[in-house]
Amino acid sequence: MTEQQIRDGFERLDSALAPPLDAQERVARRVTARRRRRRATVAGGTAFVLVAGVGTAVALSGGDDPDGRTIATDQPPGPTSTLVMTRPDGSTVAFPDVTVSCDPPVANGDQPIDTPTPDRIWAYSPIEFSGSIEDDDATVSKPFVLIQGIVSELEGGPVLTYPIEGPGGSSPEPINVFIADTEGAPDGNELSSSVGDTGTVRVLEASCEPVPTLRLEVSGTLGSEEGKQSVVLDGLLR
């Protein structure tokens, strides 16, 4: 087996397939699907409804937690949040009521909106939406902030600069700061640190043990994932 034989084999592998003639349409459909899923994520949408049933089963069996690092504990006394969103028109929204958890966030009080995932921590203000998910008209009732982090990548107190991206520009990012705003016709605005213009997240502490703890300082401008207006989010979570 020579080097050239291996190289020739790879060359044939490289040239053996041709994409479908409608590749562009297929890619466009997947882009749309990803965007729809992202929107559904915000509104506790279809994808999450599908996931929620599975997630519940998984959580009960522990089947998706090989490391046993997803911890269901009593919540500690609520963290102090001074996070404030400021829109370009000067209007502000404060997020004083923030829950920190290593279990997925819940919307409308009791609906999980993500799957249990080892090594993840979330901080979020109350997530409420109205309308029908199945009819694709679910809308956010009031602005909320949702921060998701990978605990093992936040050790040592990193300072992360916007835009915060995952490896190769793909998700998951070590931390993602997300806001769903109700302003931005026709259906609100979605903003995040992955399309942020300028800003930082300074992580002070991130841990699931013994109780979920996320302390950080946020300062900067979150960019819109929908090409709408940006907002400033500043403050501490401690």
């Binding site: 291996i6 020739d8 044939r12 562009q24 997947r30 882009v31 520009g169 793909s170």
Partner: protein, 170 residues
């Protein structure tokens, strides 16, 4: 994404889909996975197109593809069912022969070994370039290349003469 960006991205897809599919085929040794990986890579770029400035979008796409492939077992299995991905028939056309021994041998390698070999033999990258794409050290790349190459040779020795066939393990 405005119309101008749509057109730009359409051009990118038109030019890059075939070479990306080739790399994906080398990364996965599987028609279905190759198309899936190509489509997902392009979709991720398409999502960001117009919002993020890509100095070298073709190189960026390959980095995204490589890292998606390394992590795909952990990451995509959870995401793709929601996108209707895995159940979709691979729509690619087989237009050339592949070496069955290589397809079979690649299936026995770890994703990282396959990735290192594909970047070496398809992208013609050196160790430093492979390390940059994979996001790991040069020492790790050398190790993956060495073990992967040895595994290919072992497989060829164990399974006799080199055979050529069409298609692969879809």
């Amino acid at each position: 994404m405005d119309r101008t960006n749509d057109l730009d991205f359409a051009d990118f897809v038109a030019v890059q889909t075939r070479p990306l599919l080739g790399l994906a085929h080398a990364l996965t040794a599987n028609q279905h996975d190759a198309w899936d990986l190509t489509q997902e890579t392009l979709a991720r770029l398409g999502e960001r197109w117009g919002r993020t400035r890509f100095d070298e979008p073709a190189a960026y796409a390959r980095t995204v593809m490589v890292r998606l492939n390394i992590d795909r077992l952990r990451r995509l299995r959870r995401e793709l069912p929601l996108l209707g991905g895995p159940s979709e028939e691979a729509p690619v056309d087989v237009v050339g022969d592949t070496d069955a021994w290589l397809v079979e041998a690649l299936a026995t390698l770890s994703p990282r070994q396959r990735t290192a070999l594909a970047l070496r033999y398809v992208e013609d990258l050196d160790v430093r370039g492979i390390a940059a794409r994979m996001g790991c050290s040069e020492g790790t790349v050398k190790s993956q290349l060495s073990r992967g190459t040895e595994r290919l040779r072992e497989h060829a020795r164990e399974h006799g003469p080199l055979r050529t066939t069409t298609g692969d393990t879809a």
